[in-house]
């Protein structure tokens, strides 16, 4: 059966996120105030073919650890649901 995964990859919270910092600082240019702690990551969607949810999860974990996420610098979280 097929499962749909929604994966969020974020820079580790203890690391500097230059992009988020710069975006946050310049919200004033478009007239918005009161925005802080901007952090920018990636959202990935994919379909997994697997026998059951546990097998899908195992594949997904491997994909995240080995390729989708650089665990030295990023963390990941996901939701998995039948497609």
């Amino acid at each position: 059966m097929k499962f749909k995964a929604d994966i969020n990859i974020m820079p580790l919270k203890e690391l500097l996120d230059p992009q988020g910092k710069t975006v946050g600082k310049n919200m004033g240019n478009i007239g918005i105030t009161g925005i802080e702690n901007v952090r920018i990551g990636k959202h990935i969607e994919l379909l997994i073919e697997a026998n059951d949810e546990a097998a899908a999860k195992e594949k997904l974990e491997t994909a995240c650890k080995k390729l989708l996420c650089n665990v030295v610098m990023e963390s990941y979280s996901y939701t998995l649901s039948p497609a």
Binding site: P18, Q19, T22, V23, N26, N29, I30, I40
Partner: protein, 236 residues
């Protein structure tokens, strides 16, 4: 004719532009600080504002996105709408697309790498102020240096650009072949530069200011500066 070169935080070809316009071409040029909303006071219809190359705001979020909302852009847009010349190169082109002064967008190169090298450009129109001294189909060698240079626009926009002769340059071989092999970044139809319908706002990824002096071994870019200056003579 007065020139102004906008300095956004992270612009890094501003000094190069000032050098070519001021020292090499001997023109009146000054830096325009991005926070200075009055920087364009005194600039009139026949003058030219340059948005230089670089990494404004570090290219964070999308290249040119944050700069397109910086304080000076309100007056740049007003200046352009009043017929003033606005010329964006590389990051400047990205800012112009983000600000809506030029149609389309510049996406990440199809090979996903920054690329800096000489490429050839085929002139698609001599009917603009920055290409007036070139001949149609004339080929010039100009360097590119960008990660986000893949020009993209929807079909309708593309059709309009072609019909109105708004495409300035296409990437090509030394002999003028514009097939995909000579496309350094995956741009639609090898588009390297465009202008707006009013023909007073120009954007291009290649850097003519990097090849405008004999010392650097290539002067092909100089003719673009000569073109816009020829306009001044016409007006005089």
């Amino acid at each position: 004719m007065k020139f102004g070169v906008v300095v956004f935080p992270g612009s890094n070809c501003d000094d190069d532009m000032i050098h070519v316009i001021g020292t090499v071409m001997g023109q009146d040029v000054k830096k325009l600080w991005h926070k200075d909303t009055e920087a364009l006071n005194g600039f009139g219809k026949g003058d030219c504002v340059v948005l230089p190359g670089g990494f404004s705001y570090g290219d964070y979020l999308r290249s040119g996105a944050i700069a397109s909302h910086s304080p000076i852009m309100t007056s740049v847009i007003e200046f352009a709408n009043n017929g003033g010349y606005v010329w964006g190169i590389c990051n400047g082109f990205q800012v112009l697309c983000e600000s809506g002064l030029l149609p389309g967008a510049l996406l990440n190169n199809n090979h996903h790498k920054f690329v800096c090298k000489n490429i050839y450009l085929r002139t698609e129109t001599d009917q603009t102020p920055i290409t007036s001294q070139l001949k149609e189909k004339q080929i010039i060698k100009v360097p590119i240096a960008h990660a986000d240079g893949r020009y993209y626009a929807d079909d309708e926009t593309l059709k309009k650009l072609n019909e109105n002769g708004q495409v300035l340059f296409r990437y090509c071989s030394e002999g003028g072949d514009t097939s995909e092999t000579y496309n350094p970044n995956g741009s639609l139809e090898n588009i390297a530069g465009i202008c707006n319908e009013g023909r007073n706002v120009f954007g291009m990824m290649p850097h003519p200011e990097r090849c405008a002096e004999p010392t650097l071994g290539n002067e092909d870019g100089r003719i673009l500066f000569e073109s816009i200056l020829a306009l001044q003579k016409e007006m005089a």
